[in-house]
């Protein structure tokens, strides 16, 4: 069983992680709203990362489309020339965004769970996200992420617990960046 405090903490952590990973600055304007399910997401691809502990396994998914608006946005926040951004470079950049996002969540979780580990990112087709239920998760939460004059992303967290989870992590208002890992 996952307590309400734990669910709220997870949602707060992911919201903050999205701000840290998908914006040039965490103070930049962004609108993050909860949504019911993934069926109406228009994206075609998903970056998936996992955080594992003895007590739970959590997936962080960021949905995106490899369109020009998304490429331009990611190129600007990563200071990359969009004209030189080929498909592989774009996937590397969006994977790094996912890495920063999940790293932020991982770092917050480490306050409560001293032994947590994080995977490297993988990009799969968005159709895969329609099968999240087969993973036996006990908590899923989805967000619509709207960036003014920018692309629209979606994000999900999907948690499977192996023990009862009850924690309360107070997420600070601002933190500069997430964990960086080579992949």
């Amino acid at each position: 069983m996952i307590s309400q405090n734990a669910k709220r903490s997870l949602n707060d952590m992911l919201e903050r992680a999205i701000r840290a990973s998908l914006l040039a600055s965490p103070e930049s304007p962004i609108d993050i709203e909860p949504v019911a399910d993934v069926s109406q997401f228009s994206a075609s691809k998903v970056v998936i990362l996992s955080v594992s502990s003895y007590f739970f396994r959590m997936l962080v998914l960021i949905y995106f489309s490899p369109d020009e608006l998304t490429k331009a946005h990611l190129a600007s926040i990563n200071r990359v020339d969009v004209t030189t951004m080929d498909t592989q470079t774009f996937f590397d950049v969006i994977s790094e965004c996912g890495n920063i996002c999940c790293g932020s969540v991982n770092r917050d979780l480490a306050q409560v769970f001293p032994h947590v580990g994080m995977s490297t990112p993988n990009i799969v087709d968005k159709q895969c996200a329609h099968h999240l239920d087969v993973l036996g998760s006990s908590y899923q939460h989805h967000f619509a992420v709207t960036i003014p004059q920018g692309p629209r992303f979606h994000a999900s967290l999907c948690l499977t617990e192996f023990e009862d989870l009850d924690f309360d992590i107070q997420v600070p208002e601002q933190q500069s960046s997430g964990e960086l890992e080579m992949f």
Binding site: S50, G117, V124, H131
Partner: protein
Amino acid sequence: MDSSAFIFLLGIFLGASVPAWFVSRYVRRNAANHVMRAQALSLEQSLQDELNHLSAQLQDCEQQLSHARHVTERELEQLESTHQSALQQLQQQYSEGLGRAIGSFDSVGEEVGTLLGLVKTFERWHADMNVLIRHNREMHAMNDDFSTIVKQMVIVTLNASIEAARAGEQGQGFAVVASEMRNLASRAEKLSKDYRNRLYENDLITTTTFQGLQAGGKMIMGSVIGLNVINNKAKDALSA
């Protein structure tokens, strides 16, 4: 008796009594002095005896004290010797124990070093996952080809049905075959869609399973590295 005789007798009496008083007094004093001297002598003798007795006691005590001192000194020497021996034994045991403990820390360090080699296993799993994902991608491509063929089959069977209808009576048998073919193509199309969904499901399960292994591996590596740090600190503290 006349007065002169009286006076004479009185004079004789007085003349005799005064010396007699002095003599008597001398005698009494002399006797008292004699008694006192005797008492003093007796007392002196008594004190001398007491002094001799005390001196003897003092000598005994000194002898006993000397004996006790010697005994104590011997016991102290034995005790010091025993303590020294025990201390040396303890130091030897401590030294041996320290050596064993440091040896154990070294063994733990070697085991931890071996465990840290697990990272190669995780890297192999990661490579295996990439192979599986590549394999799935190829199956997606094959299924897409199959799906394209099935769509063309549907069109062909539709055309066949149209041509059978144009042939009229003579085309009735061909229309039945075309209808069966269209049913088969429709089932194949449904099968292809289901298969594609299964492939997506398989992609998700494969990816999340291997990510779980990878994240769990990193969690274990973190724990092992923490164990190694604690082991090294304990060894350094023991060796200091």
